[in-house]
Symmetry: C2
Subunit: 516 residues, 2 copies
Amino acid sequence: MTSHGQAAWELLLPAAAAPARRRGRALQEALRDAVRSGRLAPGTRLPSSRALAADLGVSRGLVTEAYEQLTAEGYLRSDRGAGTWVGEAARGRPGGTPARGGAGTPAPGRGTGTPGGSGPATRARAADARGTGHGTHARGGAGPHAGGAGAPRVRVDFRPGTPDLSLFPRSAWSAAQRAVLARLPHPSLGYPDPRGLPELREALAALLTRRRGVVADPERLVVCSGVAQASTLLGFVLRARGHGAIGVEDPGSPEHGRLFSSTGLDTLWLPLDGEGLRPEPLAASGVRAVVVTPSHQFPSGISWSAERRAALLAWARAVDGHVLEDDYDGDFRYDRAPVGALQGLDPERVVYAGSVSKSLAPGLRLGWMLVPGELLAEVVERKRTMDLGNPVLDQAVLAEFVTRGAYDRQLRRCQRAYRERRDALLAALAEHLPGTEVSGIAAGLHVIARVPGRYGPTERFLARAAAAGVVLRPLEEYGTARPGDGDVRLVIGYAHLAPSVVAAGIRAVAAAVGRG
Amino acid sequence: MTSHGQAAWELLLPAAAAPARRRGRALQEALRDAVRSGRLAPGTRLPSSRALAADLGVSRGLVTEAYEQLTAEGYLRSDRGAGTWVGEAARGRPGGTPARGGAGTPAPGRGTGTPGGSGPATRARAADARGTGHGTHARGGAGPHAGGAGAPRVRVDFRPGTPDLSLFPRSAWSAAQRAVLARLPHPSLGYPDPRGLPELREALAALLTRRRGVVADPERLVVCSGVAQASTLLGFVLRARGHGAIGVEDPGSPEHGRLFSSTGLDTLWLPLDGEGLRPEPLAASGVRAVVVTPSHQFPSGISWSAERRAALLAWARAVDGHVLEDDYDGDFRYDRAPVGALQGLDPERVVYAGSVSKSLAPGLRLGWMLVPGELLAEVVERKRTMDLGNPVLDQAVLAEFVTRGAYDRQLRRCQRAYRERRDALLAALAEHLPGTEVSGIAAGLHVIARVPGRYGPTERFLARAAAAGVVLRPLEEYGTARPGDGDVRLVIGYAHLAPSVVAAGIRAVAAAVGRG
């Protein structure tokens, strides 16, 4: 073991002493913090998993898992045969401002104040996705449920981006409301802090640090109405700084374009491949800001590779630019722990945005941003002039809900429900539309299906499905690519549909389109 | 009685048949509607109050009161000796789009669906005012209560614009929350209609029609987070239409300037006199939009005269312009029924904005706009990109609260409390700072006090008060006028202070400044 390995070994000791059920997670957090803080410098070789496991007295599997997770997130790099070392991507906050509850504190102590939070359940993140970005729903005011207002003959709408609203935890939410009205001091009912209620910022910072691997300083957390408002806030700030355009992923969410356009910014499609944004077109674009969905790209469903995460941040530093990370369904992943958010790698370049729209309900209009220090004052002043701040009671209720552990319980509940629906969809596609390739299935609330060309062409496929009462959306609605191979590419949202409805919908489509 | 008088007589019959306790109000509403709808054309002479009272079989006092009220609001004109006739100011909606629940329906039927609403209590409107506009509160994040964060030695802060947060009806609000969570259908928890929840728009339209004399079509009502957001929404829309500046009242709320500035508009102070905006500087200004507070001007406390209301609307039509009516404390008036909102005179030129910030709590961040049809789509799209719409549960709770009659009860409760505090302030000023002239006392949550110069000069007065732990604000903070007569002009907010605290504060000031 090298001397750096020795340092790692010491840093990781408290994590290794954590209770068994959260030891693996504690190990990952301690390792991530050590990289972020610079205590493990870029280039440092890590001991072999076998050696480290022996030193720490933990199972080798835990160490292997930690190495894999942090490699996927871009903190570590590894090469079969050459071992594992600390990557170049991570960039701690400069100047040593200590993150409250964020980086720099040893892992085991974190998040333990949240009851029910850090057990095995923290790994259980439910699955979710979204519509045409944040706004399909709002466009035209169509109801979020299949068979809603509009075309009365629609029986199944595989709209992406809609959670199952019947999963909203009414009684737990009601209990939190009562508790808040009973305890909130009178002055809290006055004009709010535009950044958000302090108790909510504390609760969210702890939650996001624990669940999403971000650097979440409550002083840099701004409560907002959701990712849409986060986009508008950032757009206005960038526009005032002289930006003329912002890059968006292609394929991606058309709603991003509409939101940024309202702030005076043009949007530029930037091509994606199977790993993330392609570096060359990004470098050639001339923009100095992009919005991305690296954890579960919308709509393709890929998780950005570690290399592309690092490349994006290197680009941002080189052009003195900024990245908006839209973590729209980061909490939902079925097969392994979620990939940590990009923001954790460089909190000074990445604006991180998320919301409760997929985990609780879009109607709550509650979300959050983590804002680089350099942008903070401008974002807060924009928030102030936009609405003076979010409603106080809602914020207090969410703080109560998170602190009680009810938010974690809700995520587990959603995860179970959505995984079941995903499985129903995959089974139905395999049975009724054989030959269909499905991707993006590891996470989120939607998948990409590539239906063989013999069922097409796309327009006829969609028209026949619609005639059978099933609404499906082609991938080409979400970007500029037109592969021209004749296959039918679909973005299929399933989370809001009961498993039996999912199956019936796909069966009906198959019957309508025939054997091609 | 002229033939027009005959028409009036027929139109007013249903009102005259209303139950005694709401007959006067019904009469005013019927008369207002008749003018608005054009059934009583501009220039039409009205019968004498004696003749009309005899025809209708009501007391002459009711008719006199109706004539006076509508004259004050600008619908009628009168001249001692020459009688009363229909003015030119009112302009109904063009094209005959019928207002739902607004103009065009006979008065007696209106508002009766709201229990507890239309009795004598509808005349009891509590008093209120605001800070340096909507934003004093938000500026610097100081708490809304005297003795809050900041200077620890402050014992009494006569900050304007702050309601008494201890009056927030926690148990009634909690009951409405429970009712909403028990009944709201699942789809309502999805992405909201950016205009607002239909049931709330219906409830508010009925409420505002009844209480504020506006033309409130639910289809033109946009729920927003308050008057600040209404200003920003309108500012962006006007900027996109090519406006470069907007006029604000001088004296007025500095916050208006900050809000519009965030949308790219310059603000231009326009001088006020004792009746409202002076027409000549307005006409010479070159702006085509202004924001005004005609019901209880902030901060001077005047109610705009009928002539100035008419002149403002004539100007707006001549320049194809728009007026934002900030009805920040329109619900609170002590001595007579509130003067109806300007918007009722011309709903196609006036954007009307109000909120629950003074009646319930600023922390709720709930307000409304009535938007001319021509601007509606742009305002709604701005609202959509700003936050996708207000939180749904809050909207449903307010709808429930209004529909139950709890909102009217809350206004009566506030009115009683604030009148008592106003009286305590007037008594304390008379006793401890004799010679002080007080104006703007008929309504709102603040007054203007002109303290004789022998207690001054202003700077020393304020410094001595502050040294004694009492924070007061000079009128000159709110505009450009510097009378130079040596008197000390103050804007004194009292609503958030118990009567004993009000008295103690003024006593302490008097002791500190001596006899001058």
